[in-house]
């Protein structure tokens, strides 16, 4: 990108300032292959919130262009992964509050003004999240052992229609029981996870087109775990998962605290999500 091309300021995350943060940023590449810089209030102290930003071409990132891009799954994936890569690299080095995808300001000055306006909020949240890591726990219903085709061999002394309906009813009943058992297993798992977590967020179960291949998702939680409990958390989940029947369990992470970046005072997006606060 040339120096004369108009740009916008893309913000990736709020990061707690450290002496080495500038160097970490210098090694990173952001969205649209742009270099990262730190945007901080002049004279701000170590540990103070700063923005990790890059300058992106305005023509491709203005409101109109963005709305078109968001329809494009390839663009979306590339942008999400580039954003995430920056957030992850920062999180490996300091405490971060990841920002939502495609947070852009007209210029660094406006971004800095926004940073200043939310300085206290960011400071408080960074303090709460320090020493914590997010993990995802997902549970899927495993293939139903009773989903065999309807029995055809033994036909009882009733009409074929009635026999079919009976068999169908029994099959549905078995399927329902299988489902309920899996839900109970997922609840047990969530209770185990919650013992270690300072907070958790219940994301809606994944079932859209992007989630098709993974089976029926019945639990999609994020847990904020103090780092000193991370090993025990993982070990206990693995143990609990091994003892459960009817569900397949997946642990994701460690994640930067995406699901906990916003204070719980703000309502959860889904209406069903519970959002606990680290204490």
């Amino acid at each position: 990108m040339t120096g004369t091309e108009p740009t916008l300021t893309y913000v990736y995350a709020v990061a707690a300032r450290t002496p080495g943060l500038g160097e970490v940023l210098a090694r990173l590449t952001g969205v649209a292959a742009t270099p990262l810089t730190l945007l901080a209030a002049p004279g701000s102290a170590e540990g103070a919130p700063a923005f990790a930003v890059s300058q992106v071409p305005a023509a491709d990132w203005n409101a109109t262009a963005l709305k078109a891009h968001f329809e494009d799954i390839t663009w979306l994936e590339q942008t999400a992964r580039a954003h995430h890569q920056v957030v992850e690299a920062l999180a490996a080095h300091t405490t971060v509050l990841p920002l939502r995808l495609a947070t852009l300001y007209e210029d660094p000055d406006r971004a800095l003004t926004a940073l200043r306006e939310q300085y206290e909020q960011f400071t408080d949240r960074l303090a709460l999240l320090t020493g914590h890591t997010e993990y995802g726990i997902k549970a899927f219903i495993t293939a139903d052992a009773d989903s065999d085709p309807l029995p055809t061999g033994t036909v009882p002394a009733v009409s074929p229609g009635k026999a079919y309906l009976r068999a169908r009813k029994a099959q549905q009943h078995a399927h329902e029981e299988h489902h309920q058992a899996a839900v109970r297993a997922a609840q047990q798992l969530a209770a185990t996870a919650a013992r270690y977590a300072a907070a958790y967020v219940r994301h809606p179960a994944q079932s859209g087109p992007l989630a098709r291949d993974q089976g029926e998702n019945i639990l999609n939680d994020a847990y904020l775990v103090p780092d000193e409990h991370a090993d025990a958390f993982r070990a206990d989940i693995e143990q609990a998962a091994a003892a459960l029947t009817g569900v397949r369990v997946e642990i994701t992470g460690p994640w930067a605290p995406y699901s906990f970046a916003t204070p719980p005072a703000q309502p959860a997006e889904t209406g069903t999500g519970a959002r606990g606060a680290p204490t």
Partner: protein, 74 residues
């Protein structure tokens, strides 16, 4: 019962897009100020993109949440 392997954290490991979007669209700080896209626009985008991950029908059969009060405070 089955715990999916390959869940160990590895540098450079590619996370599933579905899990990443779950976090990038539902989570993350929403900053205020003089944004290029208004918060309302961002919300619209988020809602339409979330349809890639979650269909409305799944919101009904979720298990009830555990009690976070049981969690060990740091």
């Amino acid at each position: 019962m089955t715990l999916t392997p390959a869940d160990a954290p590895m540098p450079g490991r590619q996370v599933a897009l579905v899990d990443l979007l779950d976090r990038l669209l539902a989570g993350g700080v929403v900053v205020t100020g003089d944004l290029v896209l208004s918060i309302a626009d961002i919300d619209l985008v988020r809602i339409s993109l979330r349809a890639l991950i979650t269909s409305v029908s799944t919101l009904t059969d979720e298990p009830s949440p555990p009690d976070p009060a049981d969690g060990e405070a740091p």
